[in-house]
């Protein structure tokens, strides 16, 4: 059991993006959007800033991709946009998320 106090103390910063999903995460309830950011050359874009935008394009959340380019959001079923900014360029992708794990591949390139 995760106590509420633990959640409170955990603050608002994003957890380690490359760590396995915590066992406390209930995939019957959570809608996870996860994937890897890669450059045009196919290299992992570690340190990319990945933003989750809602169906109206409004900012919802942002995480920093792990050194392996991995990112993860806990969202809700529906239409989202995942947008990455990095020193290697930017990129974005529309996602129709359903309950459970939604895996996407996101590429960045200089404009």
């Amino acid at each position: 059991m995760t106590s509420p106090a633990t959640n409170v103390a955990a603050g608002c910063a994003a957890p380690d993006q490359s760590a396995p999903l915590p066992s406390s995460v209930d995939l019957e309830k959570e809608t996870v959007i996860t994937g890897i950011v890669r450059t045009a050359e196919g290299e992992a874009a570690g340190g990319a800033y990945v933003r989750l935008l809602d169906s109206s394009g409004e900012f919802t959340a942002e995480v920093v991709a792990s050194p392996e380019g991995v990112f993860r959001f806990f969202a809700a079923p529906g239409s989202w946009t995942v947008r990455a900014l990095s020193r290697f360029g930017n990129g974005e992708l529309a996602v129709d998320a359903t309950r459970g794990v939604n895996e996407v591949a996101l590429n960045v390139a200089t404009a």
């Binding site: 959640n7 409170v8 608002c12 994003a14 957890p15 380690d16 800033y49 809700a76 900014l85």
Partner: protein
């Protein structure tokens, strides 16, 4: 305060990395970012370990803050430049602490770590050694900190600004979308609070929008310039970002940060809560 005194650009920072009397401080919840590379010369403050009381549900007191800054080698007359990840949330939170405990000259690095990274500016893993100081903190400036009773009394009277995401405001989510959602407290918002997500104040690269843009955003959201204001979020750091915008950039008088925020309010017995996208009635 104004933009000129409260904010510095990445260019300014790069030109002042070795300026005597200027101390760069990275503030994050996850300090592995600092350990993996930081602005040359910057020291680190850990949002949780260094700034929260280890036992009581409160942050460090006057003596603890003075001890922390003394140990990190910060003097009362140093210019402290704060930056961090998460669009400067934790840096803004630390900025609010420095103001709360009366530090003279403290500034935020516009865009924080993100702008620095996107600009591909230089990082180092070298950790500077600073001689210990005898820092003297002032008693808390309560004019910038709101407590729960004051927040309840402010319903329908003062500006309440909820800076969480629209889904958290409406009660559809209990936490930001990068965190698991299970929590025990109630969802929703403080009745009569306007919803202005902190992100409205920031550009995509983490820098703050212009004063004109910011004034327009809060004006259109219904912020009444003739009233006092209390900003809140979930645990008080995103609202520090908005507190910084309203108080330090736009120069509004009487702006407080409610650091108890939704984790406290949403767990109180008997207080009113509004659900949905509208502010709701007092």
């Amino acid at each position: 305060m104004s933009r000129d005194t409260a904010l510095v650009s990445a260019d300014w920072a790069e030109n002042n990395l070795e300026t005597p009397g200027v101390v760069f401080v990275e503030v994050d919840e996850d300090t592995t970012a600092y350990d993996g590379g930081h602005i040359p010369g910057a020291i680190k403050i850990d949002w949780k370990k260094d700034l929260q009381d280890p036992v009581r549900r409160d942050f460090v007191n006057q003596e603890q803050f003075a001890a922390l800054l003394s140990e990190r080698g910060i003097s009362n007359d140093d210019t402290v430049v704060l930056y961090g990840g998460n669009n400067n949330w934790f840096a803004a939170y630390a900025y609010w602490y420095f103001k709360l405990y009366g530090h003279g000259d403290v500034k935020l690095l516009d865009g924080g770590r993100k702008k620095w990274e996107l600009d591909a500016r230089v990082y180092t893993k070298d950790v500077p050694v600073r001689a210990k100081t005898s820092y003297v903190a002032q008693p808390q400036d309560k004019s910038i900190r709101a407590f729960r009773d004051e927040v309840v009394e402010a319903i329908g009277v003062k500006n309440l600004v909820d800076v969480r995401s629209p889904d958290e405001f409406a009660g559809r989510l209990l936490a930001p979308a990068h965190l698991p959602q299970e929590q025990s407290q109630r969802a929703g918002h403080i009745p009569t609070a306007i919803s202005v997500p902190w992100s409205k104040a920031a550009n995509e690269d983490g820098t703050f929008k212009s004063d004109d843009e910011l004034a327009k955003i809060y004006g259109e959201a219904g912020l009444d310039g003739s009233k006092d204001t209390i900003a809140y979020c979930r645990i008080g750091e995103r609202s520090s970002h908005t507190w910084f915008v309203l108080k330090e950039l736009l120069g509004q008088e009487n702006v407080k940060n409610y650091d108890g925020s939704w984790t406290e309010y949403g767990s109180l017995i008997g207080v009113p809560i509004a659900l949905g996208d509208e502010p709701g009635k007092a």
